[in-house]
Amino acid sequence: MDKILDELKKELKEIKDLSKLNELKAKYLGKKGSISELSSKLKDMAAEEKKTFGSVLNKIKTDATNLLDEARSKIEEENLNKKLENESIDITLPSTKIPAGSPSILEKVVEEVEELLISMGYDVIDGPEIEEDKYNFEMLNIPKGHPARDAQDTFYLKNEEILLRSQTSPVQVRVMLEGKGKKPIRIICPGKTYRRDNDDATHSHQFMQIEGLLIDRKVSLSDLKGTFDVIAKKLFGEDTETRFRPSYYQFTEPSVEMDISCHHCDGKGCSICKNTGWITVSGAGMVHPNVLKNCGYDPKEWQGFAFGFGAERLAMVKYNIDDLRVFYTNDIREMRSFDRKEAE
């Protein structure tokens, strides 16, 4: 009887597809199959013999079934593998392009500053771009006829009273007036500003400022320095060094210009820092007592600092861009460099 199994094994070796396997199964285990035929002999056997023969027969049946099942899974696996192999593709062919959007370069820089300062408790707020003279100048300690107005040649709209704002500082005035001299203030005001400059590599009649204002009961110039340090390191890297230089603005006193060490030459001197090792990126200072007073804050009780960045300037320094017009040309080929987020 072992012969049957040997034969089966031999036949199985030849079989490559499922229909043949089914035929083979019928040949051995089908109703008229060779194993079934053997079991028909059982009825003529004596009880003792029946028992022995029966158990042998059962074993053969089980073994044969196992052999056939094994062969089936093997063939099925081979079939699947063949199918998968046929489905195999050239993964080196080009992808389907999913569009990737990008921020404008200016907005990217603005958002970096916003992100940091929001985490430091500053609200981000904007105000009207068409402003009143009193918010843009007068309340900021720049009365009519003041020479500081000459430098900010302004687009007036009506009677020298309505203008396109020449700085984002009027937003600070508005927020201070809202605070009614009672609430501490922590804001930054990024936004568009306008001055009568002809557009060239370093001038633009439209540009973006990011101004910050902090008013509280005890604020010092050293606090401004610390704040600037944090911003400079965030924007230009941890190794960035900073320095203050005395300066002058009508709405701050003391006023400073804030420089960062040139990250292109590590302070050794190059064309970008004009061989000084330092790049000026911000003007700032302690809020002038007249401005505090004008906006309802008592300078005896409240102090504050204000700082201003030019977004174009920051972007130019950060990305080594030498022409300011780039930001308003919107060349998609250039914008595509900014469709990603830098890991921090």
Partner: protein, 790 residues
């Protein structure tokens, strides 16, 4: 510009390294942009002890020159070189202007170890033919061999080119004011120059009367001198003026300029004989004329100030003198004016007449009355000494200057709090001493009198903190953070919504643009889909940028064209920006422009082309993102500059908030799609998120297709279906639109998939069928739709 040799007249800086000093001054706030030094290394005084002709040349000489430490052989081509003269020798290693380095060399076979120089070769004299023909510079016999020749000639000046912030450009743009700044930094004292005179008995009042009839002249002071002898200026004045960049004219004119550069006070000299005897200072009459020193006839405005001889103008105050009273070679007697005029008025007049001079700039910045007095005395002294003038006794004077000193009271801790530093009372005393600010200190309080030369300082603690701080050194400040309440900031108002929309649009693959608010009138006329007029700048820089835009679409179209011209394909742009109408009403807008393939893979033919429906999808995506699902609709509307068949208005809660469509082919032949919506409209309508659980009960889907008139739009059919469907109809979706075979020419087939569900129970087939049939009959009745395949 400040000449440091000149400053040495007032303060002892003999031992200072002037480059290092410049750094110190810059750190303390007066920005020195450039240190210009005439000093040249390896330049010595030499004596020619032998001079022979060069064997191979008809003009070269072989000289033996004693330079103190050695005797050098130098070949020289100058015609005036000869034995016994003292000369300027540039030794090997000296670098002359033009980066010309002197080296040991052989000239026609003869060794030469340096160069004998003329001043023009050192950049210290203009190279004219006359100067050139003179040959090398000869020093007088007193010159000491081996020493620095430029120092000997007084030509080794160091100049500081300043770039001063506005508030200090009145007191730091003259030499005495600058000396005070150096004094504060180095803790030295300033000595003012000699201004004594020996007046004659005659009094100016015998010659002149003065009347000031304008509010814009708070101070007018005049003195008179007689018998001046016009001639050349003394060397030091000529040299200093020339170093400053001023031409020497004659001793008298030079003195007026010299004193201005000393005290910052412009002076005006009138020829007394042409002046009459009544000085009247008044506002100019509108249209009044005067011929100024430069020979130009100028028409004045009533806002200008004039000095008159009682009737006709003789000088435009603070700006330029009149030709009629000019000091000439023949002038004998002079009236000297030292005055203060209204700064704003002078700036205005100077700008108006386009006459910006050293004088008008200084008047325009404001002047200290103390120096108005000092300057006139100093001028008289110099005129007496260098022009033989006789100074008359007395002055004529109009004085309405507020001389109340600015008094500043504060405590040390106020400065400490402001700067975040720790100074003692004594430290503050030292700083005030350096600044030469007189003070009293009583009961822990300082009372400081601000000197009148410091016009920039106002009596508040910030100003004194600044003075102390800059001398203390901002580099010495600590880096601290403000001691404030801990909180996280946030975006406020429109910025918040701008950020939200921006974030979504970027992730949908659009590139953010920044374009100009100011546009040309032609651009402003395009895509006028609202009833808005533009605000126009009364004084634009150019016509190109003269109108404030009400829509961003034309700007994005410009960006599109820019990129298309550079062969960029598949352009997806957006911008969010404020717009204004002619009443300056603000509206923030979100604008998009899309063209090409949104998604593309050419080799396997995957393409999602930008069309109306894609842009509509983007708009819906944003509106959904803001939470406006089921609250907006699109309605066909013809919009200027858009394709008449492919454009629509967008409404939110039945209020029009924007437009969408294809740009009219007459403007743009490519298939460019644009859309614009009002961010303000979105801001006003945002509602908070509410959680809505998914229905637990199964939904039932039914499909149907109608044949309708081709002009019937889907929204009309949907509206009927919705109404008939009631609450249990929870979704409608178009899954097929068909025209062609089996459908008449003027008809189309449109197929909907309807979803029915309830949050409360399982719907039965019967009740759904009842609604379904109702929908069909309503559509048949109301729109004349025919059910297809029936």
């Amino acid at each position: 510009m400040i000449d440091l040799e000149w400053v040495k007249d007032y303060i002892d800086i003999e031992d200072e390294n002037l480059k290092e000093l410049a750094t110190k001054i810059t750190k303390a706030g007066i920005n020195i942009e450039k240190v210009i030094s005439n000093h040249i290394d390896n330049l010595v005084i030499g004596e020619v002890i032998e001079c022979a002709s060069h064997p191979d040349s008809d003009h070269l000489h072989i000289c033996k020159v004693n330079v103190g430490s050695e005797i050098l052989q130098i070949v020289c081509g100058a015609s005036n070189v000869r034995k016994g003269i003292k000369v300027i020798v540039a030794l090997p290693g000296a670098i002359l202007p033009g980066n010309f380095e002197i080296k040991k060399s052989k000239i026609r076979g003869v060794e030469s170890n340096g160069m004998l120089c003329a001043l023009f070769e050192l950049g210290l004299e203009e190279k004219t033919e006359e100067v050139y023909n003179k040959g090398i510079t000869e020093l007088d016999s007193k010159a000491k061999v081996g020493e620095d020749p430029l120092k000997y000639l007084g030509l080794d000046d160091t100049l500081y080119e300043l770039d001063i912030h506005k508030h200090r450009n009145n007191d730091c743009y003259y030499h005495i004011g600058f000396a005070y700044e150096i004094a504060a930094i180095l803790n030295h004292k300033v000595t003012l120059p000699e201004d004594k005179t020996s007046p004659i008995k005659e009094n100016i009042k015998d010659y002149f009367s003065l009347k000031v009839d304008t509010k814009k002249c708070p101070y007018y002071l005049a003195k008179m001198v007689k018998d001046v002898k016009i001639g050349e200026s003394p060397e030091f004045i000529k040299r200093r003026l020339s170093a400053y960049g001023m031409r020497s004219i004659n001793n008298v004119v030079d003195i007026s300029n010299y004193v201005m550069l000393e005290y910052g006070q412009p002076l005006h000299f009138f020829d007394k004989d042409t002046l009459g005897d009544n000085i009247l200072v008044r506002d100019a009459k509108e249209g009044e004329e005067i011929v100024t020193l430069d020979g130009v006839k100028r028409k004045l405005k009533s806002s200008d100030i004039v000095i008159t001889d009682g009737e006709k103008p003789v000088c435009i105050a603070g700006v330029m003198g009149g030709e009629n009273t000019e000091v000439t070679e023949k002038t004998k007697d002079i009236l000297i004016e030292s005055a203060i005029f209204d700064a704003v008025s002078i700036r205005y007049t100077a700008a108006n007449l386009d006459l910006r001079s050293e004088a008008s700039i200084r008047y325009g910045k404001g002047l200290s009355y103390e120096y108005t007095n000092k300057a006139i005395e100093r001028a008289c002294h110099l005129l007496e000494k260098y022009a033989g003038a006789k100074v008359l006794t007395g002055t004529i004077c109009h004085d309405k200057v507020d001389k109340t000193p600015k008094i500043l009271e504060f405590e040390t801790n106020e400065i400490n709090d402001m700067l975040g530093i720790v100074l003692t009372d004594n430290d503050v005393k030292v700083e005030l001493g350096r600044l030469d600010f007189p003070y009293e200190f009583k009961n822990g309080k300082f009372k400081v009198t601000v000197p009148s030369r410091r016009l920039d300082i106002d009596p508040n603690v910030n100003d004194i903190a600044e003075e102390v701080g800059r001398l203390y050194g901002y580099n010495n400040l600590a880096s601290t953070l403000p001691n404030t309440v801990v909180r996280k900031g946030r975006y406020i108002g429109d910025v918040k919504y701008r950020k939200l929309a921006s974030k979504r649009l970027r992730s949908l693959g659009l590139n953010e643009c920044k374009t100009y608010t100011l546009v040309s009138p032609e651009m402003a006329k395009l895509f006028k889909y609202e009833n808005k007029e533009n605000a126009i700048l009364p004084n634009p820089l150019s016509v190109d940028k003269s109108v404030i835009r009400t829509t961003l679409i034309p700007s994005l179209l410009n960006v599109y064209n820019y990129n298309k011209a550079r062969k960029v394909n598949n352009i997806m742009l957006y911008e969010i920006s404020k717009t204004y109408d002619k009443d300056y009403k603000e509206e923030s807008k979100i604008s998009l422009l899309m063209e090409g393939n949104y998604i593309i893979n050419e080799w396997n033919n995957t393409k999602v082309k930008v069309d109306f429906y894609l842009v509509k999808g983007i708009i819906e995506n944003i509106l959904d993102y803001f939470g406006f699902k089921n609250r907006y609709s699109f309605e066909k509307e013809s919009i200027s500059n858009m394709h008449p068949g492919i454009c629509a208005s967008i409404s939110l809660d039945e209020k029009r908030i924007g437009v969408i469509g294809r740009v009219h082919p007459s403007i743009e032949k490519d298939d460019v799609y644009v859309a614009e919506i009002s961010l303000n409209a979105l801001m006003e309508n945002v509602k908070p998120i509410k959680f809505k659980p998914a229905s637990k009960y199964p939904l039932i889907k039914k499909d149907l297709a109608f044949i309708v008139d081709k002009k019937t739009n889907s929204l009309e059919i949907e509206n009927v279906i919705k109404k008939a469907g009631g609450k249990l109809l929870t979704d409608i979706n178009v899954f097929d639109v068909y025209t062609g075979e089996n459908v008449l020419n003027n008809e189309k087939s449109i197929a909907y998939s309807l979803t029915f569900s309830s949050d409360e129970r399982t719907l039965s087939e019967e009740e759904v069928m009842e609604i379904f049939n109702k929908i069909i009959s309503k559509c048949e009745k109301e729109i004349g739709a025919k059910l297809r395949d029936k």
